[in-house]
């Protein structure tokens, strides 16, 4: 099950904990992977670990021109982009009443606008191929909100609305568009939290622990697979039961 042999996947934010796990999972299922991110070193380390069928495609997602060029570079390097995983994301937490325009805009730009541009960039070849998988990484916070994260929550909720709209438009062409909404996952991003904060979070999670990057990667692998061809416009929540939406 879940054989991606011959498929090519572009993954953004592949230098991070969740992105790296997604890349490994898709690669492990036989896909050729394009690893994108801003930091070249971890991307190259990951590519070296994966061996064959791994390409490093550095890109700064706040650079519009670089972003527009990325789908083409990925298609040249791999031969196609059959699967797009928009995983890259940033946070700039701030109390809402203190939030600056810059804190708001920078998060919207990377998490929502860059995701839109990449989806748009891969659409034409996917339409022609009559096959495609778009998987956008949202967040539980996009569904239930989080104090200090008005910008992040708005961007992640925006991703969901966009993902569903795309799903409507291209479903008849064999392209699915879905989101995965992780809860609290143990990565560098959540390591910034204090022990006290972590304990407070775990209390709210029925599973009583943070999730693992591999548990997000497994959800992405499913949505990328041929078996998930009838699943589109959905949000797969992977959050240990902390929000049953």
């Amino acid at each position: 099950m879940f054989d991606l042999t011959g498929k090519c996947a572009l993954i953004t934010g592949a230098s991070g904990g969740i992105g790296g796990s997604i890349a490994k999972a898709l690669h492990g299922a036989g896909a050729t992977v394009g690893l994108s991110g801003t930091r070249v070193e971890p991307l190259e380390a990951l590519a070296a670990e994966l061996g064959e069928r791994a390409h490093v495609l550095p890109c700064n997602l706040s650079d519009k021109d670089a972003l527009e060029a990325l789908p083409k570079q990925a298609a040249e390097a791999m031969g196609a982009v059959d699967i797009l995983v928009n995983n890259a994301g940033i946070t700039r937490d701030q109390l809402f009443m203190r939030m600056s325009d810059d804190e708001w805009q920078s998060v919207i730009d990377v998490n929502l606008t860059a995701t839109m541009r990449l989806c748009r960039g891969v659409m034409r070849p996917m339409m022609k191929a009559r096959w495609g998988r778009i998987i956008n990484i949202s967040s539980v916070v996009g569904a239930i909100g989080n104090p200090g994260q008005a910008n992040y929550a708005a961007s992640k909720a925006g991703v969901v609305g966009m993902t569903k709209s795309i799903a409507y438009e291209v479903a008849s062409r064999g392209i699915t568009s879905n989101a995965v909404a992780p809860g609290f996952i143990a990565t560098a991003m959540t390591e910034k939290l204090t022990e006290e904060q972590k304990t407070a979070i775990n209390v709210k999670i029925p599973a009583a622990r943070m999730g693992l990057p591999e548990e997000i990667a497994a959800a992405v692998l499913y949505l990328a697979s041929p078996e998930a061809g009838y699943v589109t416009g959905t949000v797969l929540h992977v959050n240990g039961g902390m929000a049953m939406v």
Binding site: R124, M127, K128, E169, V170, S172, R173
Partner: protein
């Protein structure tokens, strides 16, 4: 009929699955030939490929009928 019109007609017939005699000068892709908005985008993509031209979005919007398409492509190529 010109070579261009023949090639355009072939694409329309294949893509929309319509009878060749339905594809007349004034036949509207959407109103007469059953295309949806996504079909029209795909037709433009197919025209671009067949004729090696680029059809910008604002021009693509003016291509509503078979005749529009032939006229635009004749001028562009």
């Amino acid at each position: 009929m010109s070579d261009i019109a023949d090639r355009v007609k072939k694409i329309v017939v294949e893509h929309l699955g319509v009878e060749e005699d339905k594809v007349t000068e004034n036949a509207s892709f959407i109103d007469d030939l059953g295309a949806d908005s996504l079909d029209t985008v795909e037709l433009v993509m197919a025209f671009e490929e067949e004729f090696g031209i680029e059809i910008p979005d604002d021009a693509a919007e003016t291509i509503q009928t078979f005749g529009d398409a032939v006229k635009f492509i004749t001028q562009a190529s």
